[in-house]
Symmetry: C2
Subunit: 260 residues, 2 copies
């Protein structure tokens, strides 16, 4: 059994990824789709809200209206299109979100401090959560019966609200709980690149040391990979843009973080 | 085990319906949501397309863009909001659509004849399907393990496309396959009304005879109810707008179509 994360531009390669997954069942495929959320938010007249922290970091704020678009695009459009691609190939697939079950339970920041026109203000945190708990009984039930699961990165908040969660975090936490043979994190890069060279093999300790030297995005991914590897699962960070991304990852492509 | 259909205005009563369902697990809840699709289509700039048949009947045509809204609103927004309402009450719920599995396989009309500016034209049928096959292995698996299922009325087309299907038809076909103790079709009327009086009990044969005397909407619902009752399942058509719609239906409210 394996967990596969597909996000960003690799979502455009779903037909080939799906074809490659046929021979690697059962699997849990966790998808992203944030770019599409931006596109559909605009179409629905929801302007992205950017907030600035006291330290000057600007970030996107998910308000209630944008959360609604997240739910529609991720749990609706993207999830069902991936399920359809898999069924096209004769692969049984059930698409759910982290809300269902519930599977993923997350904590939303109650309050955040933002700076607006030079003044500090306290506002409620956006509809984004950090995953605190993972429940997998229903996933095991489906996987053990030969169904594959396609998972949208939403979670149930501890206050009952729906929350948007990070896809890499969802895939990582699910992997630590499900203990698959592999977690394969497909992205639009070949793996961890250091001084222009692909790093092909790391222990969890090496991954953590290396993470601090990497840019935003890959550093978080590598920290999560180290965490999952510590739970005994082999993690591969590799390209989702090639013809056979799963087969290549299993054959050694990308960066492998290996339980020590 | 029961199958419950919630559509139209009764969707607004989900909090009370969910509360009433707590004591009647496990269940499959099939929901509608067409009115919301109209609202969100407008917000997304998708104009409803109305076609006229050669006999002069005007009907809504689901084109590819509107189908996308169906998927986002039904499988995304409505489905996950109902799942959340159930989980709020401690009820384990998994939300899927008929595409998932697949559960519902439907046939789309290849071509339809429409009249435009006085001239007949042949156009491809809209993205709407008639359910031809129902697969329930994964539903039984979940129900037998104590999970309830919330189902969006979408289907996988025989050509691999996603299709919008009628919620009553989805609930009926699922009931004939799953053989629940009850199919409860909640709507915004008390039941079948004839000459101003509620009809409280019908055999499948009586239901079929009566159906032809009823207005559009209820006639189709009653024909489906007769079909399901013939498969051995007791069907109730009753109000979803009361405080305890499930309890009242089981206590005799509405119109019961009883296997002969």
């Amino acid at each position: 059994m394996m967990v596969v994360k597909v996000g960003g531009r690799t979502l455009g390669n779903i037909p080939l990824i799906a074809r490659d997954l046929v021979g690697h069942q059962p699997f849990v495929l966790v998808h992203g789709g944030g770019d599409l959320v931006t596109e559909y938010s605009k179409r629905m007249g929801v302007e992205p809200r950017i907030v600035t922290s006291p330290s000057g970091i600007r970030s996107r704020y998910t308000d209630e209206r944008e959360l609604e678009v997240f739910v529609m695009v991720l749990a609706g459009k993207v999830n069902k299109e991936i399920v359809s691609s898999l069924i096209d190939l004769g692969v049984g697939a059930i698409g759910i979100s982290g809300v269902d079950g519930p599977t993923l339970i997350a904590e939303r920041k109650r309050r955040i401090i933002v700076v607006e026109r030079g003044r500090r203000r306290i506002i409620p945190g956006g509809y984004t959560g950090r995953i605190e708990e993972v429940r997998t009984d229903h996933l095991r039930l489906l996987l053990d019966s030969g169904y594959n699961v396609v998972m949208a990165p939403l979670a149930r908040g501890t206050q009952g609200e729906m929350l948007n969660v990070d896809g890499d975090q969802a895939a990582s936490r699910l992997s630590s709980a499900l203990k698959p043979d592999y977690l394969i994190m497909l992205s639009d890069v070949e793996g961890v690149i250091l001084d222009g060279e692909l790093v092909s093999r790391l222990t969890p300790e090496e991954a953590e040391e290396l993470a601090v030297r990497l840019g935003a995005g890959m550093n978080r991914k590598l920290m999560m990979a180290a965490d999952v590897a510590r739970s005994g699962v082999r993690v591969v960070i590799s390209s989702g843009l090639v013809d056979e991304p799963i087969t290549e990852a299993l054959n050694g492509a990308g960066t492998h973080v290996i339980p020590s």
